[in-house]
């Protein structure tokens, strides 16, 4: 099964459409060595490779920030769009409205999403468009040299000594509350779980939000920071072991009765959640919200698939659009006939 592979596939291995991992790589990263964002980029690369998605069918979008630079560092054969700060949701929405056949992935940061971008984020969630929205969450503004973002921990301190006194925004809670239909929290330091969650998101028909703790080694990786590698490694608590079975690999994953939960996605893929300590059902919205509340109160770092609703209609369905990309419709289908104009003119006489 895709996600239990321990080591990355050897260079020459090809996926179901005959492409190698190299075909999914991007330009070399210019981020700091060890930046969490780079770890996420490689899992994205891996996820697309394993799903065998044609790069040309993907559109990558982002806002502004170190995190928002990353679309240049994966899927070099896909169109990419690095927009303006905090407004990626609207660009991504426009893209998928124009061409519903594209797999749209948006990459953002905590500042780009929770600070300047919270407004567009909220309204994106309400629309449930088929967009994978990734927040590379490090609690600071990396690119502008380390000021606090709206997800910074209460009381956390900058190198400069400035202390954050405002409560952090919990993006998963917001996502579930406002209508996202696939919400997960993960950790750049946990590639195995991350790739499975990404593959699930890429197979989901509505808006997926992945809040990924992604340490900023330069400005917010000091001990005590809940966005640091050490803290993450020490405190990560998995809700379940996440496995993903793509629709084209209809093998059965065997586990004892009741020891796992399967979620079928609309494209036939399945997410397999192996039970660990707790017995958690991510399809129950109310549970999801109380779980998140509990976690934030207790300061727990719970990772996994927090909430999923594979069925809720997405905005394209609500708009009842034609199957083809609107962008490619020929003039014959876009310009009404002479009669239409005559009819309107008649009504105005």
């Amino acid at each position: 099964m895709a996600t239990v592979k321990e080591s990355p596939p050897p260079q020459k291995k090809v996926n179901r459409i005959g492409l190698t991992v190299a075909d999914y790589k991007g330009k070399p990263s210019t981020l700091c060595d060890g930046c969490g964002h780079d770890a996420i980029s490689s899992q994205l690369t891996k996820a697309f490779f394993e799903l065998g998605i044609q790069p040309y069918q993907v559109a990558k979008l982002s806002g502004i920030g170190c995190s928002s630079k990353t679309p240049a560092y994966f899927l070099g054969k896909s169109h990419g769009f690095n927009g303006v700060h905090g407004r990626m949701p609207s660009l991504a929405a426009g893209t998928v409205l124009a061409n519903r056949t594209l797999r749209v992935v948006g990459v953002s940061g905590d500042g780009d999403t929770a600070s300047i971008g919270i407004g567009q984020f909220v309204h994106l969630l309400r629309r449930n468009l088929p967009i994978v929205y990734i927040v590379e969450n490090n609690g600071v503004y990396g690119l502008t040299k380390g000021q606090f973002s709206a997800t910074a921990d209460l009381g956390s301190k900058l190198k400069t000594g400035v202390v954050n006194e405002l409560p952090p925004i919990d993006l998963c809670t917001l996502a579930v509350e406002l209508g996202a239909t696939y919400v997960a929290r993960s950790f750049a330091g946990d590639p195995k779980q991350l790739v499975a969650l990404l593959e699930g998101a890429l197979s989901h028909k509505g808006t997926s939000v992945l809040d990924i703790i992604s340490p900023c080694v330069t400005f917010n990786n000091h001990p005590g920071s809940t966005k640091s590698y050490t803290w993450g490694k020490e405190h990560e608590e998995m809700l379940h072991e996440v496995g993903f079975v793509p629709y084209f690999e209809q093998i059965n994953v065997d586990y004892e009765e009741g020891s796992a939960l399967e979620v079928a996605l609309h494209d036939g893929s399945r997410i397999v959640l192996k039970k660990l300590e707790r017995d958690y059902d991510p399809t129950d919205r109310t549970c999801a919200l109380s779980l998140l509340r509990e976690a934030s109160e207790k300061g727990q770092f719970l990772t996994g698939l927090v909430y999923v609703d594979p069925e809720r209609e997405n905005f394209l369905e609500l708009l009842d659009l034609v199957e083809e990309p609107l962008a490619l419709l020929p003039m014959e289908r876009l310009r009404p006939p002479q009669e239409a104009l005559d009819e309107v003119m008649e009504s105005l006489k």
Partner: protein
């Protein structure tokens, strides 16, 4: 047409003139929310159906109910459809303003008013027609709620009778107004008849105004600019529309929704060939439009002043990353919230230069409902051809008022989708550089996401980029790209709608105007010619950037009057800059400005030009 002049002259001497036929304006003063709109439409359409050219202007408050509102119907046998400053016939239904409304009338004007308001004492030089509307309304219906509405219908009857408007045409107009709602038709017709009767029996005609049958509206339509723009967008093949409500822009998208439902749902599948999204604000609206344009859709949004300000950052991205999108700016009075329900041309400079850094944008300047339709289509061709945001600068007067026009011709021009490379093209070329000036016109080639070819992909960004769309901070890369963008803009200069020149043999004076000012200027030129024997050449600008034509026009004149509806002479400034390489030419520019929020009228323009001409001649004498 000399009667026009004659009549004016007499009026000035306060003589009761002989019959005035098909050449006057009626103003109806009511309270907004009282449903007078349908009455006014019926009145206007009846005259229109009698073959008399009309225009209707609605002066409404930024409020939902209870504040004063005025509707002015102008009948003009000469076909003038600009606002007319003077009111000849007042229907005073609003106690709040009745006094002021009456006081502002020209001597000799007529007033129909609610009897209980007792206005007849206010002036001696007017003709008064008291009508007990409230009383009469009781006879029409038992339902108290309906009475206010029907009182408004009653004045249609009264006015109809006094101005001898054809009863049959009124009937037809009522039917048109209330479509198939039989009950409403009957009830309203009843009210009108009552008004007619009352006028016949209780009022004695004492004013010279009269409507007579003509043949000047045969086959013509009455439509507002926003509806025309919506039609243009639809026939221009728009596929993604994003908007956020704002007066006076909302009705463009709201009417577009109606049209698209009717004509853009796929016959076989019953599915929509378009997406219309009400965004959460203007930042999102322009963002979605740009995302869609980037992905290859014909996308548009529509807004007004405050929305334009909010779109600043994104529009700069569109300019620099070269993404097509169409943005309608239905101008209202600024700055800030300003007067949301008043008209202006106050966003010219700001829109043209929108966003930080060295930016400039293509702007179309429709003057008529025809051009709203035409530019509604053409804007997409220009946006895709030049891969940049294109603005259509309309205004409240053009967008929300009723204009007479010939039915729009079915478009013959096919879409121009611009320089888009398909997989096949790439197969031939092998590769492409997104921002390279291959053809020397400054316009690069682009590919759309989803293009099935390994060479198709490129990376779009608002930060520095090389010809190959790679990130760069190199001084030369940056400067080369900016120079190419300037070159592209120069190319566009030749492709935007060119100015329209109306020659006037051996005229010393020239007038330059654009947009909704056109109609006042046309009428003013006739006034100047007739009344002062002052001939003026006329250049009507239809787009920014300005074009060569401007130079020759100015050269051919001694003095040039730029007429516009803003305080800071915004277009005049652009004209001066455009002339800066033509020694001496820009000294000829003078401004005629109108910025009180009301639609510009011919009289003010003519008077101002006459005054400035006097000054000029005095100067020359002195020197």
């Amino acid at each position: 047409m000399s009667t026009e002049a004659l009549v004016r002259e007499k009026r000035e001497r306060h003589i009761q003139p002989e019959a005035i036929v098909n050449d006057f304006s009626i103003q109806v003063a009511t309270i907004n929310g009282s449903g007078s709109q349908s009455s006014n439409n019926v009145l206007m359409r009846s005259i229109f159906r009698m073959g008399v050219p009309v225009s209707g202007k609605n002066l409404f408050p930024s409020n939902i109910a209870g504040l004063p509102t005025w509707f002015t119907i102008r009948a003009s046998k000469q076909g003038y459809i600009a606002r007319r400053k003077e009111v000849d016939f007042l229907v005073a239904m609003n106690p709040q303003t009745a006094r002021e409304d009456v006081e502002s009338l020209r001597p000799g004007a007529a007033v129909v008013y609610e009897q209980s308001l007792k206005l007849d004492g206010l002036r001696k030089d007017l003709v008064f027609y008291p009508v007990p509307f409230a009383e009469l309304a009781k006879q029409v219906t038992e339902e108290v709620k309906l009475r206010k509405l029907l009182a408004n219908m009653i004045y249609v009857g009264v006015v109809g009778q006094l101005l001898s408007i054809d009863k049959e045409e009124i009937k037809k107009s009522v039917v048109k107004q209330f479509q198939s709602k039989a009950k409403a038709i009957a009830l309203n017709q009843k009210a009108i008849d009552l008004g007619f009767e009352y006028a016949e029996q209780s009022l004695t005609k004492a004013d010279p105004l009269r409507v007579e049958h003509m043949d000047k509206t045969q086959g013509k339509v009455l439509i507002d600019g926003n509806a025309a723009g919506a039609l243009g967008a639809m026939f221009g093949g728009v596929t993604v529309v994003t908007w956020y409500p704002i007066t006076p822009s909302s009705s463009l998208c709201e009417q577009l929704i109606e049209y698209m439902k009717a004509y853009r749902v796929d016959k076989e599948t019953g599915k929509a060939t378009y997406a219309i999204v009400q965004a959460e604000d203007e930042l999102a609206a322009i963002g979605m439009a740009l995302g869609a344009g980037w992905a290859g859709a014909r996308s548009m949004t529509s807004t007004s002043g405050p929305g334009i300000s909010l779109m600043s950052e994104f529009v700069g991205l569109g300019y620099y990353a070269e993404i097509p999108a169409v943005i309608w700016n239905i101008q209202r009075v600024g700055p800030s919230t300003g007067l949301p329900t008043r008209t202006s041309q106050g966003d010219i400079l700001f829109t043209y230069l929108l966003s930080h850094g060295d930016t400039k944008h293509l702007c179309l300047l429709p003057a008529s409902v025809d051009e709203c339709f035409e530019f509604g289509m053409e804007a997409f061709n220009l946006a895709e051809r030049f891969q940049t945001p294109v603005f259509v600068l309309s205004d409240l007067d053009l967008g929300m008022n009723y204009w007479m026009a010939d039915p729009f011709p079915y478009p013959q021009k096919p879409f121009d989708r611009g320089k888009v490379l398909t997989a096949e093209d790439l197969e031939k070329l092998g590769s492409f550089a997104r921002y390279r000036d291959v053809d020397g016109d400054g316009i690069p080639y682009r590919t759309l996401p989803g293009t099935e070819h390994p060479a198709a992909a490129y990376f779009t960004r608002g930060s520095g980029h090389s010809e190959n769309a790679e990130y760069t901070e190199r001084p030369d890369d940056y400067q080369n790209n900016m120079d190419r963008l300037a070159r592209k803009f120069e190319t566009a200069r030749k492709h935007v709608p060119q100015p329209v020149l109306e020659e006037e043999p051996d005229a010393e004076v020239g007038i330059i105007a654009f947009g909704s000012s056109h109609w006042a200027v046309t009428e003013a030129r006739d006034q100047l010619k007739l009344e002062k024997n002052l001939k003026a050449r006329y250049l009507r600008l239809r787009a920014l950037p300005l074009t060569e034509t401007l130079h020759s026009f100015v050269r051919s004149c001694q003095r040039v009057y730029v007429v516009e509806q803003n305080r800071d002479a915004q277009m005049a400034q652009l004209i001066r800059l455009e002339l800066s390489q033509q020694p001496g030419q820009q000294d000829k520019i003078r401004s005629v400005l109108h910025y009180d929020g009301l639609p510009i009228d011919a009289r003010s323009v003519a008077d101002e030009i006459v005054a400035l001409e006097k000054k000029a001649s005095r100067k020359t004498e002195e020197s």
